[in-house]
Every structure is written in C-alpha cells, then in structure tokens.
C-alpha cells in the first residue's frame, strides 16, 4: 500500500537524519528533549484543562469563557509547538521502531483527532456567546476534548511500556 510505503520511507529517513542520529548517539540529549516534552505536557494540558473545567462550570466561573480562552491561547499554542517539535525529535531517534508500536499509532490517531477537534468545534464553542450555547452541547464538547487529549497522554505513556522489536519491522524494509 502506498501510504504504508510512504510512512516507512519517512521513518527510515528520520532514523538516518542528523538529529535522529545525534540524539540517539548522545547519552544526555534524549532525556534533555524529554524534559521539554514533559514541561510542555504540563502547560498544554493545564490550559486545555482550564478551558474544559470552565466549560463544565467547575472552575473560573467568574470569568467569561471566551476571555479566559484569549488569555491562555498564547500559552496553549506555544506549548503545543514545543510538544510537537520535542515529540518529533524523540520519535526520530527510533522512528522505524515506532512505526510498529501500537501505542504510538494510537497516540498519533488521538493526536490528529484532538488537534482537529480543538481548532474547530472546541474553539467555536469556547469563543461563542455563552448564553447561546446549550448546556448539553457545552458539556459534551468539554468531555470529548478531555477524552481525546487523555487518549494522547495515555498513548504516549504506553509507548515506553510497549516493547516492539525493531527487527520485525526492519525485516519488512529490506529488499
């Protein structure tokens, strides 16, 4: 299948790239990049949690949701950027292995859905005039957002526990 071939080619390129090589060969670079990934997790998760707690009326009730969203938006976007860049660097050190890791695949699927949801429906509901958003819709959107992002987080944590032998994948790469 063309998609499978394209993804594997991309993973192989990442593995061989200077950053994939460099981080893999260094004792300290991988943990160093990981710290950025964890701090990014705190800020990104914290801002998303804030907005969803607001939508659920569990916190920050004195503030309009749209104003709160405008306040935390720069922090959310910049921490998402940190997450994506540090995540890509970590991935590049063992990209081919990740290709066959079901936890990684699950995480990427959730990530794609979570990003699409956050920048379309979630964004619209958060920015909307609160009196015009039905309670059921507001709560559902918050819960879906929490579910999707939890999937990303849990999938991410699971990657380390899922042991995939690289050889089973690389076998498929050899001519």
């Amino acid at each position: 299948m063309w998609l499978r071939d394209a993804l594997l080619t991309f993973c192989r390129w990442c593995n061989g790239s200077f950053f994939g090589h460099g981080i893999r060969d260094s004792v300290w670079l991988f943990p160093f990049v990981e710290i950025f990934h964890l701090i990014g997790l705190g800020i990104l998760g914290g801002t998303i949690l804030m907005l969803n707690l607001r939508l659920l009326r569990l916190a920050f009730r004195t503030e309009e949701t749209a104003r709160l969203a405008r306040d935390v938006q720069p922090w959310m976007l910049s921490s998402l950027a940190v997450m994506l860049i540090s995540g890509f660097l970590l991935f590049s050190t063992e990209a081919v292995k990740m290709y066959g890791n079901w936890a990684f695949r699950t995480k990427m699927s959730f990530l794609l859905l979570a990003i699409i949801f956050t920048f379309t429906i979630h964004r619209k509901v958060v920015a909307a005039d609160e009196s015009r958003v039905k309670a059921g819709w507001r709560v559902s959107v918050a819960l879906i957002s929490l579910l999707l992002w939890s999937g990303v987080g849990l999938g991410g944590r699971a990657i380390g526990y899922v042991t995939t032998s690289a050889s089973s994948v690389t076998g498929a790469l050899l001519p």
């Binding site: 914290g46 949690l49 707690l53 935390v72």
Partner: protein, 168 residues
C-alpha cells in the same frame, strides 16, 4: 541503620511485593502520576506566570490564587499519593538511585514547600495591597522564579529516577 531497616521492611510488605509482581499496577499508577502534571505542573506554571505578570494579567492575583488553589491542592495530593505508591513498589532501589536523583527530588520538594510557606507569610499575606497593580512586586517575582526553577528541576529529577532504577 533504622531507615535502611524501614526500607527493607517496606519492600517485604505484601503491598510492595504486589506492586512489583503486578503487570498493571505500576504502569497505571505511573500514568496517573505523569498525567497529573497537566493539573499540578500546568496550573502551578500558569500561577507563577501570573505572579511574574505575563499571563492572565487582567485578573487579580488574589482571584487567580483563589481559583487555582483547590485544583493545585487536589493535583498535589494525587501526585503525592501516586508517588508514594510508586516508591513503595521498590523503596530500596528508589532511595539508592545513583546519581542520587531521588534524594535530590525530595530535597527540592521540601524547598518548593518552604518557598510556598515564605510566600504565604510574607508578600502573599498582603496580596490585597498589590493585587490590582499592573506590575507585581519584586518579592512575588522572586517567589515565582524560585517555584518555576524548582518544579522544572523536580520533573527532571523525577524522570531521571526512572533511568537510574535497575531494569525490571
């Protein structure tokens, strides 16, 4: 030494043996511990950024504190409980990680607690006086920087513990 004996005793409790033997216990507790970073670390960083005057600036500091505090306490409680459970799973190895990342983390946790205490009895007590000002007082900024540095180092040390533990 009594503390070593205590660690040994803890390691031989049925709970500790169950944590080590179970396939799912450690990953589940560990996942909760890491994902609670969103609640605890995330909110702590946003609060510190407010104290530095770079985030949520339209809101009064006292209001941000009042809104964040219950969540910070809840998040911290989850962190401590899951952290203790993880420690119970292999107390001897945790305590003796080399380099001493575990001991460093515990010392920095105490320092972070002292930082909160100092804030609460000094500049934080008079928060109503500087609440609405556009710029926060230097003492509040110092407390925020100390908090940020300590929590980031605590996360780093926590991650490092897992590297320093013997493989399962």
């Amino acid at each position: 030494m009594w503390f070593e004996n205590f660690l040994q005793w803890l390691a031989n409790t049925p709970f500790s043996m169950w944590m080590r033997g179970s396939v799912w216990a450690e990953p589940i507790v560990e996942s909760i511990h890491v994902l609670t970073l969103t609640l605890f670390l995330g909110f702590a960083i946003l609060l510190d950024m407010r104290l530095l005057g770079v985030c949520l600036v339209r809101k009064r500091v006292s209001e941000v504190l009042a809104q964040f505090n219950p969540w910070l306490f809840g998040g911290f409680a989850i962190m401590v409980v899951t952290g203790i459970l993880l420690f119970c799973g292999d107390p001897v190895s945790f305590y003796h990680t080399e380099p001493p990342f575990f001991k460093a983390k515990m010392i920095m946790l105490v320092l972070a607690g002292i930082n909160v205490l100092i804030f609460n009895v000094s500049i934080g007590r008079k928060v109503a006086d500087w609440d609405a000002a556009t710029s926060t007082p230097p003492a509040a900024k110092v407390a925020a920087v100390c908090s940020l540095v300590l929590w980031i180092l605590i996360v780093a040390a926590g991650r490092a513990i897992a590297y320093a533990l013997p493989p399962p």
